[in-house]
């Protein structure tokens, strides 16, 4: 950096020099990284013996974190593009219910039910986006309306068609279906059996499954979460479209003047958010074998909290998918970790509130250093 300093004209003498270490440290994800370290340190100190860090424990909190990650990636990209989606939770309930109705009530093959549900939900996402860009209304209001509309239908359809609010029996339909296993299956089962056989992870000690590892594979949910985080990160930081996402959220008008198709970017991000919600719903339906009308309640806020802990700016134009993934990890680890540590479960919200506040304060400080905001 000494080379640039020498060449600096007089006007720059007021710009403080920064060491390269400090520059490497100051990134949007810093808040998330600090939070993750703090949370893991805390639980290693206070809950190490509780089983939180053996194979089942790790699977437990990583599954919960993966759930948050899936919806956080969508919410993160949408937030950077300058919009919100409050209908994520309702969309999860709605997508799950549609899969159940199509497959169980209407008797369609499960892969058809999944594909049609994806198309339907992504189309609703596009409609959200279209209304927002066309009317210029805040996405907060538009998607709040979608929240109620979708939740209403999610209760209405099963009640009218089946006289109940939970539709079960999906697992029987999903048996042997190629697409169902993409969402409900497990990977690396052979590897986990090998780990179990070699005594590296715990195995069942008696019963019919004696000798099998307790954790027999990585659920597809976690695979989806990893794929989405990598995809989202590359899209945002390494592509032209990623630059358009930042630009659309940073200043839509300025972006339009240089030819960025802002409306298209925003609508696509609404669709992507709906897509993520549907992945969440499909994994959940395949795991539980049923769809319930109350699924996904408050998930939109959990997604937004994860994104904000991860360093994104609520008003758009700034953020990081990796940060959002760390936010989701913190969220999952705290939620499950308090259970392992034997802390009264109602204190989870207190914890979460404190972490949210600390993360946002730290993130605001970091962002100001990077962007020169006042």
């Amino acid at each position: 950096m000494s080379e640039t300093t020498q060449l600096k004209p007089a006007a720059d003498e007021r710009v403080k020099k920064m060491s390269s270490f400090r520059r490497a440290l100051i990134r949007p994800e810093l808040g998330g990284i600090c939070g993750t370290i703090a949370v893991f340190t805390f639980f290693v100190l206070f809950a190490f013996d509780s089983g939180m860090f053996n194979s089942q424990g790790v699977l437990n909190w990583s599954t919960v974190s993966a759930q948050f990650m899936i919806i956080a990636v969508g919410a993160c990209l949408l937030m950077i593009a300058g919009e919100f989606d409050l209908s994520v939770g309702s969309m999860i309930g709605f997508a799950g219910m549609m899969i159940a109705i199509f497959s169980v009530t209407l008797g369609w093959p499960i892969w058809v039910a999944i594909i049609v549900s994806f198309v339907l939900c992504v189309a609703i996402g596009a409609l959200n986006g279209f209304i927002v860009v066309r009317t210029g209304l805040p996405s907060f209001i538009v998607t709040l309306a979608t929240l109620f509309i979708l939740r209403g239908f999610t209760i209405y359809f099963p009640q009218t068609l089946e006289n109940k609010t939970i539709i079960g029996g999906i697992r029987d339909h999903a048996e042997g279906d190629w697409l169902a296993s993409v969402f409900g299956g497990k990977v690396l089962t052979g590897f986990f059996t090998w780990l179990g056989n070699n005594g590296l992870i715990s195995t069942f000690e008696r019963g019919t499954r004696q000798g099998d590892p307790v954790v027999d594979g990585i659920p597809m949910l976690i695979v989806w979460a990893i794929i989405l985080v990598i995809f989202g990160h590359i899209l945002l930081t390494k592509t032209k479209f990623g630059n358009w996402i930042f630009a659309s959220g940073g200043d839509a008008q300025a972006a339009r003047y240089v030819g960025v198709p802002v409306n298209r970017v925003k609508i696509l991000m609404f669709m992507f958010t709906a897509f993520c919600a549907t992945i969440f719903a499909t994994c959940q339906v395949m795991e539980f074998g049923s769809a319930g009308a109350d699924r996904g309640l408050l998930k939109e806020f959990e997604a937004i909290i994860a994104v904000v802990i991860g360093g994104a700016l609520l008003t758009g134009g700034y953020g990081s998918v990796l940060g959002a993934a760390l936010g989701a990890l913190i969220f999952g680890v705290v939620q499950q970790g308090l259970f392992f540590a034997g802390v009264e479960s109602s204190l989870f919200r207190v914890f979460l509130g404190v972490i949210l506040l600390l993360a946002v304060i730290l993130n605001t400080y970091i962002r100001r250093m990077i962007t020169g905001e006042r």
């Binding site: 720059d12 630059n243 630009a247 972006a255 003047y257 240089v258």
Partner: protein, 264 residues
């Protein structure tokens, strides 16, 4: 003057009218701009300057009138068409996105790409190199290409925006009040940048309501008032007082000037 050596105007706006509902924002404005000249467009607030340049840059479609670009009639559907043709606009407040890095801003909407395994990626390396080089040429030394635009001063932001437009092959550069929110020193920098750009043979349309800034760099001056042109004058044919009078519609200002002791 450069305009005499290259007699063909690059852009001709002929009797442009623009109506917004019952409001007539432009009532037949004609302006020719030549390559390598700095054409100052002066006018008070509400004179129609913004509407006029937005028509030129493809944001608005004229209600009546023709736009000839390099002798051919053009119809711009959106700003992108105008940019493709070579008409770039730098807006006063909307030049840059402060939260984004200089390199990301510089290539916003024109990202260089590279192919890796059949997929197209944003070529950050090229973007960073070009940004640093272009910024150095304009006299701005960045800490790095990833420095956020928010850390730059207002004048530097305008300069980045101008450098960006020039880099992407602008033949006509429209500057919407680039100096109105700037301090003295920053204004001087922006005016110097305009001079550099003009010398490269690019036509500059400089919108301002500050006569002194206009006189400093302008080759020709067109005054707009209430949606009409009050004529175009060459440098040396008109003095600052006269321009000032024209902008405000003559008589009113004379009366006002009297009461303020000639300070306007």
């Amino acid at each position: 003057m450069t305009s005499q050596t290259t007699p063909a105007p690059i852009i001709q706006m002929q009797s442009i009218e623009k109506h917004f509902g019952s409001v007539i924002a432009l009532a037949g404005v004609s302006v020719d701009v030549y390559p390598g000249e700095c054409h100052c467009l002066l006018g008070d607030n509400g004179a129609g300057k913004s509407t006029f340049i937005k028509t030129m840059s493809g944001v608005h479609k004229p209600t009546k009138g023709e736009i000839l670009f390099e002798g051919e009639e053009m119809h711009f559907d959106d700003p992108r068409d105008a940019i493709t043709a070579g008409i770039a606009t730098v807006y006063q407040d909307l030049a840059m996105i402060p939260l984004m890095s200089v390199a990301r801003n510089f290539f916003m909407g024109n990202e260089p790409t590279k192919k890796i395994a059949g997929m197209t990626f944003f070529d950050r390396k090229v973007a960073d190199e070009v940004t640093m080089r272009e910024m150095k040429q304009m006299g701005i030394n960045l800490r790095g290409p990833d420095q956020a635009v928010g850390t730059l001063s207002g004048g530097e932001r305008q300069t980045v925006a101008i450098a960006r437009a020039v880099h992407f092959g602008a033949k006509v550069l429209i500057l919407d009040e680039p100096t109105s929110a700037l301090g003295v020193r920053q204004t001087a920098n922006v005016l110097a940048t305009i001079d550099k750009v003009r010398k490269q043979g690019i036509a500059v349309v400089f919108i301002t309501h500050n006569v002194r800034h206009a006189m400093a760099v302008g080759d020709r001056f067109t005054v707009l008032n209430r949606g009409k042109t009050l004529g175009t004058a060459k440098r040396g044919e008109i003095g600052p007082e006269e321009l000032q009078d024209l902008m405000a519609g003559g008589q009113e200002l004379v009366a006002l000037e009297g009461s303020l002791g000639g300070t306007v």
